[in-house]
């Protein structure tokens, strides 16, 4: 089902640090709130970065010095879920009116179908993790990729894509990570810390059988988006938006936000 009879903004941004990446996603959601077209964004990270879920416990749980020495940044997302190490990956985000799919769960499903189609077009076999009756694990430092939740994209028994959402003042923001291969930054960490931040994703190159250049995955996802969700108009952020994103990045650079709990 195509949820909105509109042309989506397709924004592909340059690699940026964690704070700016989160700020741009927030900016796109803010834009939708003020009447801009819904947006679909593809991006990457200028340095490896651990993103924390909005409400997950983190203070005292991670060796920040060891992360810094390994060249890994830390940012807290505006969305839910648990920690994700972003490195060799393609990250996507979607900002749209919350009513577009009727509910956050339906949006999750619809967006995952786009991603599944993109992966299939690259020759990868993946599927949506079914609902199960296991008791829910409370929010913790267990990495996002360690446990697939119902509705998430899995392959070969491991989680392939980790996504999270924020529904705020009528706008849905969903973003997610599609790891292409194992992060080499992990090798620079002590073993215990490695286990704390690496959920051992399926990794696209293992599923497809060959290394997938990020541009190829971006093209596959954009094409699936056009087919399943709607027309896209490739564009970039305006100068005013870039300035606004820098302002919004302030929150994501602050210890007060990152280490709020």
């Amino acid at each position: 089902m195509k949820p909105l009879a509109v042309t989506w903004r397709l924004i592909v941004t340059e690699p940026a640090d964690g704070a700016l990446n989160m700020a741009v996603d927030e900016l796109l959601a803010e834009g939708v709130r003020s009447g801009e077209s819904p947006a679909f964004r593809l991006y990457s990270w200028s340095l490896p970065c651990l993103s924390l879920g909005r409400n997950q416990p983190a203070v005292g749980r991670y060796d920040v010095e060891a992360l810094r020495s390994a060249g890994i940044g830390v940012v807290r997302r505006p969305t839910g879920g648990r920690a994700v190490l972003h490195d060799a990956e393609v990250t996507y985000s979607v900002a749209a009116p919350a009513r577009a799919w009727g509910s956050a769960r339906r949006a999750y499903r619809a967006i995952n179908e786009v991603l599944l189609e993109a992966i299939a077009s690259l020759g990868g076999a993946a599927h949506v993790h079914p609902a199960d009756q296991r008791p829910l694990t409370p929010l913790s430092t267990t990495p996002c990729f360690a446990e697939p939740a119902p509705g998430e994209v899995v392959a070969d028994g491991r989680k392939l894509i980790g996504s999270a959402q924020l529904c705020e003042r009528g706008v849905l923001l969903q973003h997610g990570s599609i790891p292409l291969r194992r992060s080499r930054a992990l090798d620079r960490l002590p073993v215990e810390l490695r286990g704390l931040i690496d959920g051992r994703p399926a990794h696209l190159e293992n599923i497809v059988g060959i290394a997938v250049p990020p541009e190829r995955l971006e093209e596959a996802v954009s094409s699936a988006w056009r087919g399943r969700i709607g027309a896209v108009e490739p564009g970039s952020l305006t100068e005013a938006e870039v300035g606004r994103a820098e302002v919004l990045a302030g929150r994501y650079r602050s210890d007060e936000w990152t280490w709020r709990q």
């Binding site: 909005r54 409400n55 969305t79 839910g80 879920g81 509910s103 996504s163 959402q165």
Partner: protein, 128 residues
């Protein structure tokens, strides 16, 4: 089929409001329909007692698996109590949304706000 108690008032954002024995103090939570749409609740971020909110201003957030949603104050007023039990047992919102899963109690600053809320029949119609 979601449970919609007859004696409560509702908002289009799926909050419920219950009058308490104390004059102009109401109890607020989210509906059975809302909790079932959200799925398993893992975290509820509630305000401090004494905070004041305008009508439909965000007073907190709720996180179900991976999804954070804002909670809106169905009335303008001052928070006089918060449900501390949700700190350790957020799933009460799923298991008992109209009872132990309550979220805040608010001293209403403008009692006329209560007249603008939906009754059970109107809310039932909204959720279809």
């Amino acid at each position: 089929m979601a449970i919609v108690p007859e004696d409560l008032h509702y908002t289009s954002e799926h909050e419920w409001v219950r009058r308490t024995d104390e004059e102009n103090v109401v109890e607020v939570g989210i509906t059975d329909y809302a909790q079932s749409e959200l799925g398993d609740v893992v975290f509820v971020e509630l305000p401090a007692v004494g905070n004041r909110y305008d009508l439909m201003q965000g007073f907190g957030t709720i996180e179900a698996v991976k999804a954070v949603s804002e909670l809106y104050s169905p009335v303008a007023g001052e928070v006089v109590a918060v449900n501390q039990g949700l700190d350790t047992s957020p799933a009460l919102v799923n298991t008992d949304p109209y009872g132990d899963g309550w979220m805040i109690r608010v001293r209403v600053s403008s009692p006329a706000d209560l007249d603008q809320l939906l009754d059970a029949a109107a809310y039932n119609e909204l959720i279809g």
